[in-house]
């Protein structure tokens, strides 16, 4: 049983045979070193742990402080009426932010309608047709996601507001869509890359058309990442102010503009409204982020 032949490799003569004594000596060198240095290595490890433990609160503190400040200053303003009533001029009680919530919702809806499908198709192109064009698009997307949002606002102003001679939520949605698009493209493509080539080949080798594999294998596999990435991009867009400055007709038509407008007024009731709106917006963004995580979690669970 044990005489099965094996391929002989040059092992003998590869090195002067030093015997067990030499091995034992070398072993001692390493053991001595390991033992002598373990105190230092443990200390270094502890030090790193301490640094990490210190870094956590320092990093989380701004977030906590921000939420606490917004809640403590804004909670007094928020009630059902605040959400359901239209804004009133400063000094007139009973005003709310219903127009701003509705306007923001409308703007984001336009942005989603524009950016989500485009983002998916562009990402699919990048995934399916790698090459010079794809690299160029990818590079432009990276550059685009770094463009200051105020410039995107001016761009929307130039192509929409100037041409049609009126401000509108469509223009604002267009601006937000342009802002969100590159983020979505990159997130989608990253998600698609997590689907292994093996699965793609398995699909193709079953006779499926590429478009079918893209739909049933690539997109399906990337879905958790796609949903998360898009929702996070939306959360990012909801909070933008600059792209709306040149495009929305009135600051009462968008939450971020309302915050900007009311916070800079000298009237305490306006400032109170600004804090309240900030709280509502913060809650909204938080809900979006949490939803993104939960959706991804649920979708991932389904596959196991």
């Amino acid at each position: 049983m044990r005489t099965l032949p094996t391929v002989q490799v040059a092992l003998d003569g590869a090195m002067p045979d030093m015997g067990l004594a030499e091995v034992a000596r070398r072993r001692l060198v390493v053991r001595d070193s390991a033992r002598r240095s373990i105190r230092r290595r443990r200390m270094a490890g502890r030090a790193m742990q301490v640094i990490c433990l210190i870094a956590v609160p320092i990093g989380v503190a701004p977030l906590v402080a921000l939420v606490l400040a917004t809640v403590s200053k804004g909670a007094g303003a928020v009630n059902i009426g605040f959400l359901l009533h239209a804004p009133t001029p400063s000094g007139v009680p009973g005003g709310g932010i219903s127009t701003a919530i509705a306007g923001s919702g409308e703007i984001v809806a336009y942005a989603i309608a524009l950016a989500v499908p485009m983002g998916l198709f562009i990402a699919l192109f990048l995934f399916e047709r790698p090459g010079g064009i794809a690299s160029t698009i990818r590079f432009s997307a990276d550059v685009m996601s770094g463009v200051p949002s105020i410039i995107i606002g001016i761009f929307a102003y130039a192509v929409y507001v100037e041409r049609f001679h009126h401000f509108s939520n469509v223009a604002a949605g267009f601006a937000l869509g342009v802002l969100m698009l590159p983020i979505m493209v990159r997130a989608n493509e990253e998600a698609m890359r997590t689907v292994s080539v093996d699965l793609w080949e398995a699909g193709v080798s079953l006779g499926a058309r590429r478009s079918r594999v893209a739909r049933s294998v690539v997109l399906r596999g990337a879905l958790p990442g796609v949903v998360t990435g898009n929702l996070l991009a939306v959360a990012r867009g909801v909070g933008e102010t600059a792209p709306l400055l040149f495009t929305v007709a009135s600051p009462t038509f968008a939450m971020t503009l309302l915050i900007f407008n009311d916070a800079t007024q000298p009237f305490s009731d306006a400032q109170q409204t600004a804090w309240g709106t900030a709280l509502v917006l913060l809650a909204l963004v938080l809900i979006l982020s949490v939803t993104a995580r939960m959706v991804a979690w649920t979708l991932n669970r389904k596959t196991r």
């Binding site: 490799v9 091995v23 001692l28 390991a34 373990i38």
Partner: protein, 300 residues
């Protein structure tokens, strides 16, 4: 660059190769440790691994139970058996990898006379005495070939450049890889073929001069030629290092091991050790009927 024949021509080239510093190494190694080596310290002359009534559980799930097994010093002990019967769990109990995976190890594991799970044992120091090779070659992708080999030495506080070079070259020789990589020591490790990467991982494990080498199906991702080289290596190393080899391949166990431990799944889906003994004996005249069925290929 001079061409080196893989099988012959080694010794003569070795003397002329400027990088082969092993011949002119200083007396440092000997000086530092001669006294201890002369003491005949059991630690440095290879240690047996002894498992006594070891059970390993992950939460509610018992992976393997009541394993009592002696792996003699400087011999190859093969752990064979079907998937999921706890061979790898047993292997990972020896160097305390379960500390990090939430597995609970009960019973006694000893390395020589040392209780592996004793209260004073520092896992890092323990693991510097035990090398491990995994199923898939896992060289550090960001390191060069040579940096991979000496990474364990660096992790264990060896800083002397000359020493690092000497021991790294020795490890490469020991893993039968020196001829192949001597002209490309600074290249990324991932440029090697799969079999060469696995031998690099063996060299990396050998560089810390382990007393025990744990090998978890080291050939499962390799072709027959690369497998044969690893098996030769195992035979070659067995006189120096205690080797625990997990394998699915009965023929491999028969070819390279001195002792075989057969694991099977019990009726309640818990892995258990069915039989252990010298390889020839277990394969030729197994005591246990289940072993007989398994080794002759009727089961599993």
């Amino acid at each position: 660059m001079k061409r080196h024949d893989e099988v012959t021509g080694q010794a003569s080239n070795h003397a002329t190769d400027p990088r082969a510093h092993f011949d002119d190494r200083s007396g440092r190694l000997a000086k530092e440790s001669k006294a201890a080596a002369d003491r005949h310290d059991p630690e440095v002359h290879g240690a047996a691994v002894t498992l006594d009534d070891v059970s390993i559980t992950f939460g509610d799930h018992v992976a393997v139970r009541n394993v009592t097994l002696q792996m003699p010093a400087r011999q190859v002990t093969a752990l064979v058996g079907p998937s999921g019967c706890g061979k790898t769990s047993v292997l990972r109990a020896i160097n305390r990898l379960h500390d990090h995976t939430g597995g609970a190890v009960r019973g006694s594991v000893r390395l020589g006379n040392l209780d592996v799970y004793g209260p004073d044992v520092q896992p890092e120091v323990l693991r510097s005495r035990i090398g491990m090779v995994f199923q898939r070659p896992n060289p550090f992708p960001t390191m060069s070939i040579f940096d991979n080999v000496i990474s364990g030495l660096r992790f264990n506080g060896v800083r002397n450049k000359r020493l690092l070079r000497e021991m790294g070259i020795a490890a490469l020789h020991n893993a039968a890889l020196w001829d192949i990589v001597k002209d490309r020591l600074n290249q990324p490790a991932l440029r090697l073929s799969g079999g060469q990467q696995q031998r690099l991982c063996i060299a990396r494990a050998l560089a810390i001069e382990p007393e025990v080498l744990l090998m978890d199906e080291p050939c499962s991702a390799l072709d027959p030629v690369a497998t044969a080289k690893i098996e030769d290596l195992i035979r070659h190393l067995s006189g120096e290092v205690t080797i625990a080899l997990v394998t699915h391949n009965m023929f491999q166990a028969a070819r390279v091991s001195d002792n075989v431990a057969v694991f099977l799944l019990g009726d309640d889906r818990v892995g258990e050790l069915v039989e252990v003994g010298p390889t020839d004996r277990v394969f030729d005249t197994p005591d246990d009927a289940r072993t007989k069925a398994y080794v002759s290929g009727h089961v599993g």
